[in-house]
Symmetry: C2
Subunit: 476 residues, 2 copies
């Protein structure tokens, strides 16, 4: 690749503004997607744990493990923390120490960057198929522990000599469900000919962003990689005009505010250091069968209150995966979740209210999370004073303050039909000026900058940020 | 503080160029320092483990622990890794989960930033007293687990309302000795009156940098905080002229090369992600008494070969610490260490050859380390082909290629009279163009930039970088 190539920021901006692409006219997407659904045969069935093949409860620990010792396991976790209202608890946790690859191949057609998107079946997906990155593979996958086929396009990511790396960073996943899980989020740009398989299609970022306004079309793995995109232009580059509405314009300016905001990047770093200094997290693995408050039946492991989540077993049949049928444990949410950013302008620049949140599986105590990230089911009958901060504000927002609202799925390889409501809410004049000390206002550009480095911004915040388009008309 | 204050980069640069300060004429330093040595009574004695007070070996694990469960403990560690030549080993490790504070109070006198430096006794120090940050305290210290006095100046760091934060970041310590230890490295600038205690003095960065050319005067805690200084000027600021020699000038330009170098910051991040992806580190705590290859006598815990390090017990008397006498375990190195950067100009900008190094106590698998960081004692009789990369090159460097050479101490609160040779070696025309894949060339400005974030640059690399002055004449 030549040194005179446009900056990644410029490439991403132009692609985000392109509502049509080289691969598939936007109007034909629905037909193509329905065709991919019809082209394959999928079957999913909940089974008793006893019918799991190659998975079993370890005789001593009771941990749910694969015979190979690979893939992942369900173990117990004892948590102690001075963050939040619950100082100590125990829970099941997914342990998956291997770093996987989530990768997009990108290529310019007519100067516009396109992403090679996969229509991918995952057993836990709502409607089975969602749009995924070009490659989505754990190390156990691509070293073929399952003795199946190698995932397509793997070689583009292992040998990157013919391509330019646009994004390449480790990112965390759900700290409430996974113990210190990270994946390598990678995006490469190639000039080479890339064969396009039946389940793959080239799309612009604009096409993807439009589909992100729909419920449960673009999967979590795609969203986390897209969240690593930096839209900031190099100083010397000509400005790019956005086509969006008022929110789109504000978002656009916020993405360009990289090193500045209400608080400087140095102040944000100092605030974040203070959070890590103030909050303790002691999370230790314990045998699954000793976890207090949880019970195991033939069909599930569940909390005695029926809340939070359960662990279940599934049998899967699929004709387009590395192996045609398998069984595996899955995690099923018992309550709906809410993920929301409150946004507000300061000095004409849109800011996001970011929360420093402790979750038991976090790699380093706290990560930057959305303003609200919680299970809402538990709160329907709760005293508002006992709710996490800003939950009542977000849930009572008037329609004209809601700038984005969509249901987005969690990862269908581990989670059974789990979706969370993703919201962007504009702060009204009634929004408090004083915020708790573990909250801070940041621009989209500042969030972009911290996403570049490991373990700063959590998957919920990244995912929500990745869904926002500055090219579309406003909701109203 | 006003918004029109000079940038931290400009303040640090001006201070680094100031060979004289407001507090103490440079020529009087030696007399003052000797006076501090004489003013206090110190005594250190190795004792049998059985004579430790409030410390004991846990009856089941054999871990060496304090009765309070606080301060630190010596435990066992089992390590498995695919990095380097030894795939598996066990060793004692210092476990200190509390985050401590290492902090400098700074203040401008005549426009020049001065640092409030402490002449501090630590039991393991060579010559007992070294120059330290204003505050150096573990949480057990400042919450007074030892039932002694509160450390002086603590309140300036806990309530920072009257001051500007110049540096505030968690930084790692020795990954071969500590399990995931981090300290909060902090530097505040105040306008307030600050009382100066007998053991304290205001010094410019220029005075400190000159003392860093001497052996074992400035302690490790001071060096790690100083390493967090960013010298880069804001784009709009007038240039500042350096007074140094040829190496000083080159170093100066290298510190200003923040976002650019032979490899862009994005390329460095991608390289670092690849290292974390390629290398596994599985380090699990085990009972100290089960550690294979190590033996415990009445006086020490040592490796059966006599190599690496030993754990011993000491009795300490001091009249100027929070408590007047105590006993504690200490770690004693058995061999001399070597810490060296090879440097080379690319496109007229000085670059440092950085190594991605796995150490068992690392927080996140690898950190950026100096070109060479090893125990040299083990290699005196070794086949050069078996040595770590670049060790023979660095050890055989001609005097004219050696740009910096000093002995620097490790932390005297845990380590018994441990010093390492710190070297900067200019690469000659014979230096290989091809470097192993876990090495990369970076500018000083790029290293500065990564130091801003957690867990990128290890303490040895930071420490060596902090000792380099662009204001002094060249060595020759």
């Amino acid at each position: 690749m030549t040194g005179s190539a446009p900056s990644p920021g410029s490439l991403f901006l132009q692609s985000a503004l392109a509502a049509e692409g080289h691969g598939l006219p936007a109007a034909e997407f629905d037909a193509w997607f329905a065709g991919r659904q019809r082209a394959h045969r999928f079957k999913l069935e909940q089974i008793p744990f006893a019918d799991l093949k190659k998975w079993s409860f370890h005789p001593e620990s009771g941990n749910l493990v694969h015979d190979s010792g690979r893939f992942f396991s369900i173990e117990g976790l004892r948590v102690r923390t001075n963050w939040g209202k619950v100082p100590e608890w125990e829970q099941p946790i997914i342990v998956q120490p291997e770093i996987g690859i989530l990768g997009f191949i990108t290529k310019r057609f007519g100067g516009i960057l396109h992403f090679l998107v996969q229509a991918k079946m995952e057993p836990g997906n709502i409607d089975m198929i969602q749009l995924a990155p070009t490659l989505q593979a754990t190390r156990s996958n691509f070293t073929c522990v399952h003795q199946g086929r190698k995932p397509p396009y793997l070689e583009y990511f292992l040998d990157r000599s013919g391509s330019r790396v646009l994004v390449d960073v480790l990112q965390s996943e759900q700290g409430a469900r996974f113990l210190r899980k990270r994946n390598r989020n990678i995006m490469i740009e190639t000039d080479e000919e890339v064969p396009v398989g039946d389940d793959y299609v080239w799309m612009t970022l604009g096409q993807l962003l439009r589909l992100l306004r729909r419920d449960n079309v673009v999967n979590m793995d795609a969203r986390t990689v897209l969240s690593c995109i930096t839209y900031a232009l190099d100083g010397g580059e000509p400005p790019v005009a956005t086509t969006g509405g008022q929110f789109g314009q504000a978002l656009w300016r916020s993405f360009q505010a990289v090193g500045r905001g209400l608080r400087s990047n140095e102040e944000v770093l100092s605030w974040f250091t203070q959070q890590k200094f103030a909050f303790d997290l002691d999370a230790g693995r314990i045998p699954l069968q000793t976890v207090r408050g949880w019970e195991r039946t033939d069909m599930e492991i569940r909390h005695e209150t029926g809340r939070y989540f359960s662990v279940m077993a599934c049998a899967v049949e699929a004709d387009n995966r590395e192996v045609p049928s398998w069984t595996q444990p899955m995690v099923k949410a018992q309550q709906q979740g809410l993920i929301a950013f409150v946004v507000r302008e300061f000095d004409g620049v849109l800011h996001f209210l970011v929360q420093a949140k402790v979750e038991p599986g976090n790699f380093d105590v706290v990560e930057m999370a959305p303003t609200v990230q919680c299970i809402t089911g538990s709160y329907h009958d709760a005293d508002p004073a006992l709710l996490p901060p800003f939950v009542p504000y977000v849930l009572s927002a008037q329609p004209e303050s809601i700038l984005f609202d969509a249901l987005q799925s969690e990862e269908g390889g581990r989670f059974f039909r789990e979706e969370n409501r993703n919201l962007i809410v504009a702060a009204g004049p009634d929004f408090p000026d004083d915020i708790p000390s573990n909250y801070i206002w940041m621009t989209a550009g500042q969030l972009n900058e911290f996403i570049k480095f490991n373990n700063f911004v959590n998957v919920q915040a990244r995912s929500l940020l990745s869904t926002l388009s500055f090219a579309e008309p406003d909701r109203s």
